[in-house]
């Protein structure tokens, strides 16, 4: 009986950690403007952080050859010649971390010209940490129960 009870508690705890929304006060969407300098073969800044729902403007300034900027997941891109600043407007409506990369061949190291756009905090990092703690606890409890019960929590977590 005891082991069943613990199992139920662990399952509920796991579900809570996995699915309860983390931020209780929603962050008001803002307008954010980033000015990204592009040169062979790097962006500066190369990491952008925004909140979900923000209206984002990326100004791409190229300082040597023609560069582009393509954001994975959002599937949008711009191209900037030196002297012609290009602007990209979009709503950050998809949370997560996305790679952005140069989509105009700009020389030998072109494939390595990348950056990162982070929309919202990385919730799944914290959730997976929580889940692994629960899994560790469950292993600790199941030690003292019958062998037949031992397999079940492990297959779940």
């Amino acid at each position: 009986m005891h082991s069943r009870f613990f199992l139920l508690i662990l399952i509920i705890a796991g579900l809570v950690v996995a699915f309860v929304p983390l931020s209780f006060r929603p962050i008001a969407p803002q307008e954010r403007t980033f000015r990204i300098g592009a040169r062979q073969f790097a962006y500066s800044p190369s990491e952008l952080k925004v909140n979900p729902g923000d209206k984002v403007t990326i100004q791409l300034v190229s300082t040597d050859v023609v560069h582009g900027l393509y954001i994975d997941g959002y599937d949008i891109s711009i191209e900037a010649d030196p002297g012609q600043t290009a602007a990209l407007n979009f709503f950050a409506d998809k949370p997560g971390s996305f790679r952005f990369r140069c989509n105009v061949t700009c020389g030998a190291m072109h494939p390595f010209m990348i950056g990162k756009l982070t929309v919202g905090s990385n919730q799944w990092l914290y959730r997976s940490i929580g889940l692994s703690i629960i899994a560790a606890i469950s292993l600790f409890f199941i030690r003292s129960t019958r062998p037949s019960d031992r397999q079940l929590p492990i297959t779940i977590y």
């Binding site: 300034v61 030196p82 012609q84």
Partner: protein
């Protein structure tokens, strides 16, 4: 029967080889032009020969970054030359002469050095001699300093200037506008009853009435594509290459002494009223046509048409004057 079959087999084989091979043969005979950044050699080959009226087929590819291809003073859409891809292009020239082709996508500090020539042979019935540019007929020394002694206190407004322009001793002709600087207009109005601000406003009105919204838009487009990388998107001489040019100038000055001693100047600042109020359109035309001036300013004479240069000049003055929309 056997002979006939053999003959038909040979015929079919020849037809297939001919149908596939002939276009391939002509395609392979079309010269493939490689584009590299100027530091690595620019265009190879950089001299192309053609004949008047005959289509010139070109294949273009890039060996490093994105380049573009266009022929100067020709009404054509520029094409992009991409690494790893071959762009086909057909040109027809209706006048003999030496044309300049150039790179249209910025590919570094020496982008403007990526130029080559197309030598078009043949004869033409149209033998119109080229006329000397205005700065030559007016005998303007485009290398001399031309700063205006006084500058406007506030941005001159064409709208305000319009109301004073009816009872003026000066003519509002294109020739007058092209030959005089705004300061000369200001100076010429000094014996009228107008205040200094009003005299600058009249100059702004004169400048606006000698251009159109269409010309300004065309000038703006040309400026963004060809000038902004050094002169800055807002005309302040602070383009993305301005720092590189300064650094380059510093090293050149160190290595050159004696007769070769030179001073490298930074890109002109079009938001500086002293410079712009003292410059006539004819002077600016000379600078754009010839380039040089001890700076990295390219020569645009073989690339822009006369009309394009006047549009560009009209746009340059819009950094100084308040034009009504």
């Amino acid at each position: 029967m056997k002979r006939l079959e053999l003959l038909s087999r040979i015929l079919i084989t020849l037809a297939i080889v001919g149908a596939v091979g002939t276009p391939l043969y002509f395609w392979s005979r079309t010269p493939l032009i490689h584009a590299r950044i100027a530091e690595n050699g620019g265009w190879t080959p950089d001299v192309i020969r053609a004949n008047v009226g005959e289509p010139l087929h070109l294949k273009l590819t890039s060996d490093d970054v994105v380049h573009g291809f266009a022929v100067g003073q020709m009404d054509m859409q520029s094409v992009d030359v991409l690494p790893g891809k071959v762009t086909d292009l057909t040109l027809i020239f209706d006048k003999p002469g030496i044309y300049t082709f150039y790179c249209t996508r910025w590919c570094g500090l020496n982008h403007w050095r990526m130029r080559g020539t197309i030598e078009v042979g043949g004869s033409s019935s149209d033998t119109q001699p080229a006329s000397a540019p205005l700065y030559v007929t007016l005998k303007i020394n485009i290398d001399a300093p031309h700063n205006a002694p006084t500058i406007p206190v506030q941005k001159p407004s064409a709208l305000r200037g319009q109301s004073f322009s009816t009872q003026l001793p000066i003519t509002n002709s294109t020739n007058y506008y092209r030959a005089n600087s705004p300061y000369q207009v200001f100076d010429e109005l000094s014996n009228t009853s107008l205040t200094e601000t009003e005299r600058w406003d009249v100059a702004a009105y004169l400048w606006q009435s000698n251009t159109t919204a269409e010309s300004l838009a065309n000038g703006q487009r040309l400026y963004a594509q060809n000038c902004a990388a050094c002169h800055g998107e807002n005309g302040a001489g602070d383009g993305v290459f301005a720092d590189d040019l300064t650094a380059l100038g510093a090293t050149l000055q160190r290595s050159m002494t004696g007769d070769n001693k030179m001073t490298m100047q930074t890109p002109a600042d079009f938001t500086d009223p002293k410079r712009m109020m003292g410059a006539s359109p004819a002077l600016l035309q000379g600078k754009i046509l010839r380039g040089g001036m001890g700076t990295g300013m390219p020569m645009w004479g073989s690339i822009f048409t006369e009309e394009q240069i006047w549009d560009l000049i009209a746009y340059l003055y819009s950094f100084q004057f308040e034009y009504q929309k």
